[in-house]
């Protein structure tokens, strides 16, 4: 029952990685265990919690519901890829720090990627739209209050940057 391996190249946060994985290897496991990018977390492995959310060509997907081999040819962004080139926090990360949007931090990577994509889609969300944006992710610690605030704050930070540049 030994698994046939497939040699594939995964492009993650702008870097190409050559890996040899069985067909059944989940993208979440390939990122975490084969590439050592453990920032992507696994909370349920059945697509409900959103902790494993990564961006595939900019769109949020659940890495636990996808096979690694099927991510070939896509640009994958994980939480490790959200900081700025100079190492400082990106706007969504910054907003989470300012608003106390995390406690244990386990759900956080999935929120950060989801919100990054959400604000790219809709940079000026209403309060209701901020809540909607995170309505597919579970957090057991924060009661979501400060995460909603962080979405609003991130939108502000992004707008300020737009004005400054």
């Amino acid at each position: 029952m030994s698994d046939t391996r497939h040699d594939v190249r995964l492009s993650v946060n702008g870097v190409g990685h050559d890996v040899s994985v069985p067909a059944r290897r989940l993208l979440s496991d390939a990122l975490r265990h084969d590439l050592g990018l453990t920032g992507t977390h696994v909370g349920c492995e059945h697509g409900v919690c959103g902790a494993c959310t990564v961006l595939l060509d900019g769109r949020p997907v659940r890495a636990c519901l996808m096979l690694a081999v099927s991510a070939v040819g896509c640009e994958i962004t994980t939480v490790e890829g959200l900081a700025r080139d100079d190492g400082s926090l990106g706007p969504v990360q910054q907003a989470f720090a300012e608003c106390h949007g995390l406690q244990c931090g386990f759900c956080t990577p999935g929120f950060l990627t989801t919100i990054t994509a959400g604000l790219a889609d809709n940079p000026t969300p209403t309060h209701e739209e901020c809540r909607d944006m995170i309505a597919g992710n579970l957090c057991r610690c924060t009661g979501y209050q400060n995460i909603v605030r962080a979405v609003e704050r991130a939108a502000e930070l992004i707008a300020e940057e737009g004005e400054a540049s």
Partner: protein, 810 residues
Amino acid sequence: MTTKLMGTPVQRVEDQRFLRGHGRYVDDVAVDERTLHAAVVRSPHAHARIVDIDVSAVLDLEGVHAVWTYDDLAGLATPMAEPLPLLIPHPALTHGRTQYALARAEVNYVGEAVAFVVADDRYVAEDAVGLVRVDYEVLPPVVGIDRARAADHLVHDDVPGNVGARMEQKTGDVEAALAAAPHRLQLDLTVERSACMPMEGRGTVARWDPDTHRLQVWSSTQTSTGVRAAVAVKLGLDLGQVDVITPDVGGGFGVKINHPWPEELLVPLAARTLGRTVKFTEDRREHFISSAHERGQVQHIEVGFDDEGRLLALDVEFWHDHGAYTPYGLIVPIITSTQLLGPYKPQVYRVRFESLYTNTVIVTPYRGAGRPQGCYAMERTMDAIADFLDRDRAEVRAANFIQPDEFPFDQGLVFQDGRELEYDSGDYPASLEKLKALVGWDDFPAYQAEMAAAGRRVGIGLACYVEGTGVGPYEGAHVHIETSGKVKVATGLTTQGQGHATVFAQLVADELGVRMEDVEVVTGDTRRMPYAVGTFASRAAVMSGSAIHLAAKRAKEKALRIAAEALEVDERDLEIVDGVVSVKGSPGTSIDLGTVSVLSNPLRYAFDEASKAATQFSVGDPGRPPVAEGDEPGLEGKDFYSPERATFASGMHAVIVETDPLTAEIRILKYAVVHDCGHLINPMIVEGQIHGGVAQGVGGALYERMAYDESGQLLNASFMDFLMPYVTEIPDGIDIDHLETPSPLNPLGIKGAGEAGVIPSAAVFAAAIEDAERVALPDLTITAMPISPSELHALRQRHPQPRPHRQERS
């Protein structure tokens, strides 16, 4: 003077790594091709005898390294084959039972560990699990409190009536007091099971070092010292051979205080046997069926009261479902039975409970730990009394409050820590006034009438609680000022998201007079602090916070003494600001803490510029020993905090809900919290804890339940079916007001805050929903929680119905 950090909303230092994806949770440790992965064969039956286990097919599978069953454990020279420890024995727990690391002859819940497989990766390990053949002889299962009480079948043959424990406490002759009371009511209530459900499940990694004969274990636990002791005993190692490190933990909420889990022993055993690093990471289904649940109780209350609603006699009997085994003793039902009293002082109280076996997952503390059920019993009773007397619900509560001048107030019972239930401080009338103002209590009837006129049902509820926090026995801390001036702090209890690295650094920065960024806090690492208890019962801030404060004080005393000698001044004239010791009023005469640290450690060998100053030819009085008698080298402070008893936090919640007349949907319009945890260290973090607790409370009150069928299968063991709240289920905004009545029991005047948010939920929602429904159905009474729209709908269908509390005599 540096501005005090205590009481300010300092941003969290741990967030930096979490936000970058650089947290180190247990499954992130030892990410290496050579690490082996474990999976567990679990019982598919709630109750069965194991006839035979055949592992032969597994051994042929490529990539499998080992399989263990009970028989393999029995062959070991160590106590691995004995039952897991009963952590908290109690004289009333006459029939305590614990499971084996791997089931011996019988399984008692779906999910119980039967065999343990170690393979190259988790995929192969799970393939192997599928190839283990276990023959079972299925036995009749006992599911639910009613079946357990009926005792037609037994969970354990040698436990008659399925009763693990019977316990009673009383403060007087309740029957006489009931008989003499002008009014009496009875209530019958139930609460369902729920569970902690941290986003990260359990997990353990172990590595055996054959060169040093030492075992290193990482576990997602709430007690690293507890796991260390258990692993050492079970593997036959000296304590000194075992290190347990708690990495970042993705939430605990109670479930990770129970230990050792079977895998916490089996992983180290496998690592030692195979000479390889071994990892077990629980998946979500496993968390549902093999970790722990809580909350399930059936309650019967009889109460006698006067015309003002004052409690003259309170007689409570309840039945607590503790699942298949009792590793955590009677802590949960003891807390229910004592904390039920809340801020009130019944003239006579009696409580009796039975803790019952069922063929379901074990029950150990979940945030609140029995208090939500106690609060529910007490507050439903208050509502019933108010209803009976036709008085305002807030007024009836106020009539029963312990008054501010009555502290310390002894309730006359024994608490969960074996100490008297003596409240240290509080101001319940002030809390109630704040809550009424915050939620708009007095204006609500007009609003309700206005909405009713428009065909809408809105209702309000309130609930009060008192929470014993910061139970002993102790916690300790070690503060080390390095020669760089950086301060390294260690305390032994663990962290699961409470921001300890921040709040403890605040305390140290304040006490020592150093910059917060120079303070680094380590928790839950037995190499750094081998004496500790754990993180539970809202105790971390109180226990470790106090210990850290005391340890920092000691380090400061030493720093001042050495600096005074070096500067040739009186130490009383010195102060420390931003890491520099100087004479008050003449900042020119100063020495930085790093240099003081250098001076504190007389050296033979210089290793850098700074240390040259501490070598024997540079410092010291040739006429005296380099380290004075009674002194120690190094600039360190160590201390322990061990209070006589718990400190009692309190609070009150109110909620306004709207119920849909057609769909029975329940909408939260406003949620208000008044919270008193004494002095706040970091209000931002305390509010975060409240938010999280309220959200779990909403889940527990409206959505979450463990849906066992009668054969003991958990039907909703996934996030698809167990309805944990998303943002869409949580109120948009939680109004919080604080009251700060300091605790006299610890140097900082603090009380615990971690569990508070969840305690009143079942009570407050039952009250509000009932109030809303009574707009249309004046007799509708809520006696079972949680309540979903379909249950509310069913309740409406049964209307009109007799109230569960009936008047016996007036």
